[in-house]
Symmetry: C2
Subunit: 219 residues, 2 copies
């Protein structure tokens, strides 16, 4: 299916024109980002934890990080909300009221479960590494059994998903258009700087190609 | 008080060395970011909503956005977790296992309440605009009464707060140091591009100074 079906949780109530359910569009946003915010409930209190992720097909793999102990104790999985947000720019209107941010965000609802199988876990870690920096996995030492055990990976099906997008210029009221105030967009981009060698780097090893033209944008 | 007191919710259980409770350090992170992820519970389900924010003293002001209707219906406020994450770079180790991300994040627990008073609301919106782009508020048309009514602003006291920071090179195991693999850090920065004029911009108006050297880093 090429579109996500809106549910009561993913259907927008406001700014309906910003809603987006096309799977291709959603996946382009997920593939450009690499840090998500995982929302979960512990003792009736919401927690929001930033962590890395990777996508493989219709699954999202998440590093367990701080939530791992909690999650491991829950056999049946835990309801989560995972949000990925890309900030594209500031929208500067002539009126304070119409200032905005251009962004693309994806919200995923579902039940995160622990990846227990070693082969799936290895595959998930490869997805994870390649998602963050394509080309890296083939060069590094693969996780050994002990490391696999020490790593918590969660998987979440991409089923109940929506995106929200704002782009373009500000939308001032007609009566403000003549104000002597600059209006427009200030684009923001995430850019990579020069790679920094590890202080213990063996002599003669130079930064690999994939660190030199690194960009999150689709090529 | 110059340090936040760790609570059961903000005390780190793992990677204790990454925890940070210094108020100045926390506020520098909050002041560099401008998009937060607000976690809240609706019908037992966690929601994570990205939105803009601004800080004034020991208060965080949040744009209500999608949550506004829900929040307006709750007289006594709503427990939230607000997380701000700045990504500083990719940490590339010789082993897949020790790959990481350099980041600075702040997690705030508390009860968000609606700002109802018009004067405080106006002040909050000024804080909000100046937080995102300093110098802008003085130039734009201020919100009128109708716009103030249509805007939901939430305030959250900065009391139960912690930061988490990872910086520096990868930490490979001693036996991996001799592998013929490049290791180091790939720094990532948010950068502003050329401002884009609104298509309806009046002739003769040029982008203001604060759009030309825009940076989230402290000057």
């Amino acid at each position: 299916m090429n579109s996500f079906k809106p549910t009561t949780r993913t259907k927008l109530k406001r700014m309906v024109e910003r809603g987006e359910y096309d799977r291709g569009m959603v996946y382009r946003i997920l593939d450009e980002g690499f840090v998500c915010h995982v929302g979960l409930i512990i003792d009736g209190q919401p927690y929001v934890i930033p962590t890395g992720y990777g996508r493989a097909g219709d699954s999202l793999y998440i590093h367990g990080s701080a939530a791992s102990r909690l999650l491991r104790s829950m056999a049946g999985g835990i309801p989560v909300c995972v949000t990925v947000t890309l900030v594209d720019g500031l929208v500067l209107a002539r009126s304070a009221f119409h200032h905005s941010i251009n962004y693309r965000s994806v919200v995923i609802f579902g039940t995160a479960t622990i990846v227990a199988d070693f082969r799936e876990k290895m595959m998930a870690l490869q997805t994870f590494t390649e998602h963050i920096i394509p080309g890296r996995w083939a060069e590094v030492r693969e996780p050994n059994e002990q490391e696999l055990k020490a790593t918590t990976v969660l998987v979440l099906a991409l089923e109940e998903v929506s995106a929200k997008i704002r782009s373009g210029p500000p939308k001032d009221d007609p009566e403000d258009q003549e104000l002597p105030v600059w209006a427009g967009e200030l684009p923001l981009r995430v850019e990579a700087k020069e790679p920094v060698n590890d202080p213990n780097l063996r002599p003669g090893i130079t930064p690999p190609f994939y660190t030199l033209n690194y960009s999150r944008k689709e090529k």
